[in-house]
Each structure stands twice: as structure tokens, then as C-alpha cells.
Point group: C2
DNA sequence: AAAATCATTGAAATGCGTTTCATAAAGGTG
DNA sequence: CACCTTTATGAAACGCATTTCAATGATTTT
């Protein structure tokens, strides 16, 4: 017969307890199928060992999250958290405002936040971080970010795409995406840089696409084809679905892909490889992303203030 | 100045507290940014208002969860849980065995489970349910299931696919999938039924595909094309990726889709609509699925034993 | 006006680990 | 052998909200 504290210590592998005692406790606990009450643990302890993960493209949008990339990222984060024995509290899209975030933290529902998809919420996140809330954000870091951002090297991604297009002999680019999203703006800037550095006279058009769906990209592509006199010979789309929509629209318009025009997407979602033709795209290391997001947050919880980080980003050349 | 219990009652909207008092408490709480400690709440209360969601295709497989359908389902569940003010604890793939499940329940980490993807774990789930654990499973119900299963009407899905293929004038079917997964077996059975009821002499071939990935489906398709003398004129694949892989492989082999052969997939993942040609497939109402999964579990937690249910399932005819 | 009922509120108990602090036993030193 | 460390363990306090249960004052009934 041993006392409560001894049991507690034995179960938490404390070195203060005698080896024989520990083994005995573990044996009995096992025999009776005993499991410590996580809630009591969380109540008493300083940490809850729970991380809240918010998955959203901006609270203003009601439509379904659809970019498979975000889900793969979630899978990566889930895995990384599991490795560190942290519970993952998935935040429903309907409570993704500052108040709910604060609430979750205040109520000790979680120790910190991983925010997947910065969207247009930089100010909100900044304000939130200002309060000392432990957050790590997937996205692109504002210059003066007061929170830790982990993301693809979007500028490099844009450069890689641009250089590839230059190499293909393309001289008239079209960028598709909403550059007011910082990540997308960075990609646009990288593309521009590659164009400028090429030494060629390269024109860069823009379609500001304010939706993430394939459908609206397809519509936008057709509208564009209706009004343009000289079609571009290269497209860099902010994501793969959009790239696919443009491939389809151009093909329907009798423009041969990749003969007449080269198209590059972003994220390398699974279907990018199976599209016809397979989509050239920019891939990020999602497993690394998950690991880094979690690692950064852990360091923040330990009182450090880790710098933002960029994830491995590379060009995958396929049929377009 | 009011006492603890009064505050507690005021915050939980108890009718036992005076209206003026409640408003005062709420005002003060608001002013000080007070939030109840969820852990104390969970420790004391009978329910934790947390639901664990397990997302996995079978514990034996290490590879990444990739079917976008499962993620959409997760989104649906997340939404439905949010509507009911339930927290969502996402279980990492690395603890998806009975023991971990039991552990989560015992440790009061969650009130119940939503298992997305039954896989080959029917026995495990049955055993788990036998202990009285509140679980709802996405999949297809075994005849003698002792747990609540919510899923697509897979048999109907198979019938719809089969009837469609018959209508297209097809008489030689190929089913692709591993029928040892109950859901897939049901689809196969539905297809067979449609073939039998058609009144035509219809041959049904099988490829037992033991992987869920596009790549292995593509390989399997090519291997099949190498050995077959008379190719089939219809394919029903257990999911959309596989359907796409077969479309690609047949096309590469010079068989025209949909002229020479009709192909039907399952799930209606987003890219199915954008493939070329767009893939005919069986769609399920994912929002309904999320809502029903959650509703069933809530009823179980209220002591009822709701019956299994089938989700709206329909054929989406596209280019194949 | 006395009795009974209702509406509010608070004191104390409860749920269950963890931590602090004190104690006891065992081992080591001079 | 007296004295100082270690080592191991337990008693009590703590974290915080909820739930009895009792008490108070207010209101209504007889």
C-alpha cells in the first residue's frame, strides 16, 4: 500500500521514487486499467500539453476549406504533436476570432496556438501576440512581425517559377492570385525578380483572383481570354487548382499546353501530378513544416522567442 | 460581492440566480476578461464536452493519409461539433489502437469517439464497443455490428454505378478495389446486382487493389493492360484517384475514354470534376455525414442506442 | 398574523493529481 | 557511537468549478 503522491511520482517516472515501488505501482495500475485523469492533471499542472490548431482562410469567408494542402499540413502538425505527446485541439472555423482564441488560452483549454493560414488576419494575430499569447503561424512573415511565422520561401518559390519560365523561352508572364495575401504577394515579387534578372524584356500581367476555388479560377481565365489580344506564353498561379483551371481554360480555347504556354502552380497537391498534363509546381516539405511549426511553439512555451523560418521549397518540373 | 457558487451559476446561465445578479457577474467577468477554467470544469463535471476524432486507414499502414475525402469529412465533423459546442480532440495516427482509445476515455480526455475510416478494424472496434465505449464509426455496418455506423449507402452506390454503365451500353465491367474492406465489398456487391438485374450477360472482372494511392493504381492498371486480351468496356473504381489512374493508363494505352470505355469513381473529390475528362463518380453529402455522425454520438452519450445510418448517395455523371 | 412556499444565496464538500514540506529510515563519516 | 547525508515516502495544501444542502429573506396562503 502506497500513498497518493508516491503513485503520482511513480506514474510520472519521477526519480524520487524507488525502483521497486515504481514497478509495483505500474503493475497494479496496469492490472486495474488505471489511467490518470487528464483534467485533474491539466488543472493542477502549469501546462496542459494541449495545442490548439486553427484551420481557416479568413473569418469572413463561409465557404468550405478546400485546399488539400492545408489538410496535409494539418496531418503533418498532428503527427509532430503526437510525437511530442501533445494533444491537438482542432478549432472549428466558427470560432476563429481573437476573442475565441483568447478564451481558449484563458480557460486553459490549450497552451498555445498553431494558426494554419494567416489570411488577412495579420493585425489580429499581431494584437493577439502582443498579449504574450504563444502562437506560431503558417504563412509569410510581415517585416515587423511580433509573432513567429513558419512558411514556404514564397519569394524563392516565385523566383524558381520565373526562372523556369524564362528557361522555357517564355517572355510574357501572367500571374494569377491575390497579392494582398502576403504569401501570394511574395510569390509575385519573386516572379518579378526572376523576370527582371533574366536580362530579357519580360512583360508581367496580373489577374487578381479573390477566390481559392477551381471554378472561379476557370471563370476568370475565360473572361481573361475574352478580352486579351495577345495571350501570354506563361502562367504562374498561386496554387495548383488555379493552375489546373487555367490549363483547362487555355486548352478549351485552343491554346496548347505546354506547347504554346507554360503553366506553373504552387503546393504540389496530389492531383497536380495526375492532371493532364501533369502540373509543374512548387513543392514544400510538409513534414518538415509540421515539425518546425511544433518545434517553434514548444520553444516559445519554454520562454524563448524563436525566429521565423522558411521551409524547403523546390520546383517540380512536370508536363507544363 | 457574490460567492463562488453564484458566479458559477451566473456564468452557466442557471435560472436559480437573480437576473440582476447574473448581469452584474457577467459584467465583472467581462471587464476582467475572466474565463472559466475548462479543466476544472471537466474534472468536476460528468461530461468533458470533448469528442475524440480518429482519422486513419488502419494502424498497419504507415503512409500518409491522402484521400481528400477523409479530410472533407473531418471538416464536416469539426463543423458539426463546433455547432454543439464540443471540443474536437484530433487523435494522431500513432495512437490509434484499442489501448490508446481506452486510455483517452479512461483518462477522461474525451466523452466519446468518432472513428473516421473503419478499415480492417471491425473486431477491434467491436471489442471496444463491447466495453460500453461511446463510439460512432464512419464506414459500412457489419450485419451484427454492436456499434453505430454511419456511412455512404455503398450498395446503392455500386448499383448506381452499375446501372449507369449498363445504360451506357457497357457489358464487360472491371471492378477495382479491395473488397475485404466492407465498404468496398458493398460497392462491388451493388455493382454485381446491377449487372445481374440488367438482363444482359455481363461479365465482371476484378482487380484487388491493396493500396489507396494513385501511383499504385496506375501501376496496377498497366499491369492489367499487359495481360488482358479483351479489355473491359467499363471500370468502377473504389475511389476517384483510382478512377483517374485508370483513365490515364487506358488513355496511354490508346483506349479512348469515354468512347471505348466508361469509368466511374467514388467520393467526388474536388479534383474529380477537373480531371480530363471530368470523372463520373458517386457523391455523398459530407455535411450531412458530419452532422449525423455527431448527432448519433450525442444520442449515445445520452444513453440511447441509435441505429446505424446511411448518407445520401448519388451518381454524378460527368465526362467518363 | 401565523404558516407555508418560493426565490436567492452561500458554506462546505467533491473531483483527482501534483507539489511542498516534513518525517522516517538507511547509509556514510570521523 | 554520535552526526550528517541521502533516499524514500506520506500528510496536507492546492488548483477551480460544480453540486448538494442549509439558511435567509420575501411572498403568498389560510
Amino acid at each position: 500500500m502506497v500513498s497518493k503522491p508516491t503513485v503520482s511520482r511513480a506514474l510520472s517516472n519521477s526519480p524520487l521514487v524507488n525502483k521497486a515501488t515504481r514497478e509495483h505501482v505500474l503493475a497494479v495500475a496496469n492490472e486495474h486499467g488505471y489511467a490518470v485523469n487528464r483534467n485533474a492533471q491539466k488543472l493542477r499542472g502549469k501546462r496542459t500539453n494541449t495545442i490548439a490548431v486553427s484551420l481557416d482562410f479568413g473569418s469572413h469567408r463561409k465557404n468550405h476549406i478546400s485546399d488539400p494542402f492545408m489538410f496535409e499540413l494539418l496531418a503533418g502538425v498532428s503527427e509532430a504533436l503526437g510525437d511530442r505527446n501533445q494533444d491537438l485541439l482542432l478549432c472549428a472555423p466558427n470560432h476563429n476570432d481573437t476573442l475565441s482564441f483568447q478564451q481558449i488560452l484563458m480557460s486553459r483549454g490549450a497552451d498555445g496556438f498553431i494558426v494554419l493560414g494567416q489570411g488577412h488576419r495579420e493585425d489580429m494575430l499581431s494584437e493577439f501576440a502582443e498579449t504574450g499569447a504563444p502562437i506560431v503561424v503558417w504563412g509569410a512573415a510581415p517585416e515587423d512581425a511580433n509573432y513567429c511565422v513558419v512558411g514556404s520561401d514564397n519569394y524563392l518559390g516565385g523566383q524558381l517559377a520565373g526562372r523556369h519560365l524564362v528557361e522555357q523561352g517564355r517572355r510574357h508572364f501572367l500571374f494569377v492570385g491575390d497579392p494582398s495575401f502576403r504569401e501570394i504577394g511574395m510569390r509575385r515579387a519573386g516572379l518579378q525578380n526572376a523576370a527582371d534578372e533574366s536580362g530579357f524584356e519580360i512583360e508581367v500581367d496580373d489577374i487578381e483572383l479573390h477566390s481559392f476555388s477551381y471554378e472561379s479560377a476557370f471563370v476568370a481565365a475565360n473572361r481573361y481570354l475574352d478580352v486579351i489580344e495577345t495571350p501570354p506564353d506563361a502562367v504562374f498561379a498561386f496554387n495548383d487548382s488555379t493552375a489546373m483551371a487555367f490549363i483547362a481554360a487555355f486548352r478549351d480555347a485552343g491554346i496548347s499546353v505546354p506547347h504554346d504556354i507554360s503553366i506553373v502552380g504552387y503546393n504540389d497537391i496530389p492531383s497536380a501530378a495526375y492532371f493532364c498534363p501533369p502540373v509543374t509546381t512548387i513543392r514544400q516539405d510538409i513534414h518538415q513544416a509540421g515539425r518546425v511549426l511544433v518545434a517553434k511553439l514548444m520553444r516559445i512555451l519554454d520562454g524563448e522567442t524563436p525566429a521565423s523560418a522558411l521551409i524547403k521549397t523546390k520546383l517540380i518540373v512536370r508536363g507544363t
